[in-house]
Amino acid sequence: MGGQPAATQNQKKTAMIKEQRIILKNAGRIDPMSIEASMAAGGYEGLKKALTMDPFAIIDEMTEAGLRGRGGAGFSTGMKKKFTSRGCQECPRRYVVVNADEGEPGTFKDRVIMEQDPHLYIEGTIIAGFSIRADKGYIYIRGEYHDSIRKTERAIEEAYRKGFLGKNILGSGFNFDLEIKLGAGSYLCGEELTMLESLEGKRGNPRIKPPFPAEKGVFGMPTLVNNVETLSNVPLIVRHGKDWYRGLGTERSPGTKLFTISGQVARPGCYEVGLGVTLRQLIDDLAGGMKDGRPFKAALLGGAAGTFVDDSMLDEKMTYDNLREKGATLGSGAVIVMAGGDPVRDLLYNCLRFFKHESCGKCVPCRVGTTMLVREMDDLRNGAPAKQELLDRMVREAGLMASTSLCPLGQSPILPLQSAARFFAGELTT
C-alpha cells in the first residue's frame, strides 16, 4: 500500500533510507518467551564479555561510544554511570532502576522491546549493575502494559535459571537481583525522581534536585535510572565496541533511535534508524507516506511534552542537537503526523488537557497553570475576542510555569504551546 509523499514541493533529492535494526534485530524473529532463542541469537554474550572487564572500563566504553539517554532528555549514559559509580562512597548499596513507565502520548518503543525481545534490556540492566557495582535492580513498568509485564517476568525467571541473575553470576563473584515494580497510571512517575518516590511506595510527587539520583536515589542510595531503550544499547556496545557504535548515526548523536510514527501515515509503527535521518524520510520511506493521499500538515515530535513542526522542518536532520537548535525536540522519538484538515488547535488542546490531568499538584504554578491553560485554550477555540493577545498571554504563562515548577511536567506545556504559536498562529487566532 503506497501513500502520498509528505510534500512534493521544494523537495530535496535524497536516497531512499531503510531501517537499521540493531535493537530490534531479533524482534519478531525469535520467541520472546524463550531464553534459549535469545541466546542462540547472541543474547547474554555481552554480559559474558562484560564480566571479564573492569567495571570502569565498561563505563568509559559507554561514554566514548557517545550513548545518550533514550528516554527524552538525551543525557550521556556513560557520564550518568560514572556519577552513580562515584556517588556517596560510604553508602552500603547502589541500585539500578529501569524506567519502563512509558507514557508519553504517541510513544510505544519500549513496549515493542519488552514484548518482542525482553532479554536484551534485561542483559543491559545486569551489565549496568555490574559497571556501577550495584547488587539490586528494579524494573518500574507501567501497570497498563500487561504483555510487557508478563514477558519481563518470564525473562527474569529464565535469567535466574541460567545463572545470569542471582549469586555469583557465571562464577564472577558478582551478585545481582532484579525485581519488577508496577506503576498504577501516573504519567509523572516516568520522571526519574518521581519514579523513585513511587518505587518507595509513596504518592507520585517529584523530589527537589539536587541531590540527583546518582548521589541519593531510591532508599537514599546512589541509583542509576535508565530507560529500556538506553539499556538495550548496552550489551551491543559491549559486544561490538564503541567504534562500531560510533559508525552508526551522526558524530554528536551516535547510534540508532526507535521512532514511533503514528497518525495520518500509511504504515504507522515502530521503526529503528540511525540518528540523523530527516522527518520526510521517516514519513515517506518508512511509514509509507501519507495516508489516503492527504497532504502533510504538521507533526508533533516527542509527544505531548514535544513540539509541533510544519512542512518547513521536513528536511531537518532528526538528531538531539539539530532539533534543539531549530527550536524543536526529539524527545522520546514519538512522531505524530497530521494531515491537511486536522486542526492543530484540537491536538494542542488535547496536550494541555493531558498536563492538567497529570499534574500532581505539588507546585502551585503547575497546578493552577495547567488548569488555566486549558480554560484559555477553550476560550481560544470558542471565539474569544483578541485571540492573538490571549495566545501571547498563554505562552508567557507557560514560560512562567516552566521557570517555577520543580519537575519536567510543569516545564512541558511551553513546548507544544510555543511551537504551535510559532508555526500555526494563523490557525489558532482565526
Binding site: E102, G103, E104, P105, G106, T107, F108, R111, R142, G143, E144, Y145, H146, D147, K181, L182, G183, A184, G185, S186, Y187, S198, L199, E200, G201, K202, R203, G204, F219, T260, S262, G263, Q264, P268, G269, C270, L300, G303, A304, A334, I336, M338, D342, D346, L347, N350, C351, F354, H357, E358, C360
Partner: protein
C-alpha cells in the same frame, strides 16, 4: 484469596504498597479497594491509614468505589483523538446506556477513559480489563461487547 493471604505474599515494607494495592484490587470481584482492604494494608505495613489512602487516591488505576466486572478504558490521548476516539466513547455510552465514569446497573461494565495506552500504531484503542483492543470501528466495538455478554451467565 483472603486479604491476609494476599498481604503475606509481600514483605511488610512500604515500598511494596503499590504492588499490594494492585493485588488487593485485582482479587476483588468489583475491582476496587475497600476501606477494610486499605486498613489491612496500613496495619500490615505499619504505616498510617492516611498515607495508604493518599497513595490509593493518587493513582488512576486504583478505584475507591465498586466497579463492573469488565472495566473499559478508552484511550483519549493525542493520537487516539486524532484517529477519532470521541466516536468510540459516544458509541460505548450509547450501547451501554451509561456515561463515562459510570457502571451498568447489571454490574457488567464500567466505562472509563485513559491516557495514552501505547497502542498508537493501531489507534483508536481501548483496554477491557487486561486485554487491548485496537483499530476500533463501530462494528468491532459491538462485536467485542457482544462476545463478553455471551460468555457471562
Amino acid at each position: 484469596m483472603s486479604t491476609q493471604l494476599i498481604l503475606k505474599q509481600f514483605a511488610p515494607e512500604q515500598h511494596n504498597l503499590l504492588m499490594i494495592l494492585h493485588a488487593l484490587q485485582d482479587a476483588h470481584p468489583q475491582h476496587y479497594l475497600t476501606e477494610e482492604a486499605l486498613e489491612a494494608a496500613a496495619d500490615y505495613l505499619n504505616i498510617t491509614k492516611s498515607s495508604v489512602y493518599g497513595v490509593a487516591g493518587y493513582y488512576t488505576m486504583f478505584s475507591l468505589k465498586p466497579r463492573g466486572r469488565h472495566i473499559i478504558r478508552v484511550c483519549v490521548s493525542a493520537v487516539c483523538e486524532l484517529m477519532k476516539s470521541n466516536g468510540v466513547i459516544d458509541l460505548l455510552e450509547q450501547e451501554l446506556g451509561i456515561r463515562t465514569g459510570e457502571t451498568t446497573p447489571c454490574g457488567l461494565f464500567t466505562l472509563e477513559v485513559s491516557e495514552c495506552l501505547g497502542q498508537c500504531q493501531e489507534a483508536p484503542s481501548m483496554m477491557i480489563n487486561d486485554r487491548v483492543h485496537n483499530n476500533l470501528s463501530p462494528d468491532r466495538i459491538r462485536e467485542i461487547l457482544e462476545a463478553i455478554r455471551r460468555q457471562e451467565p
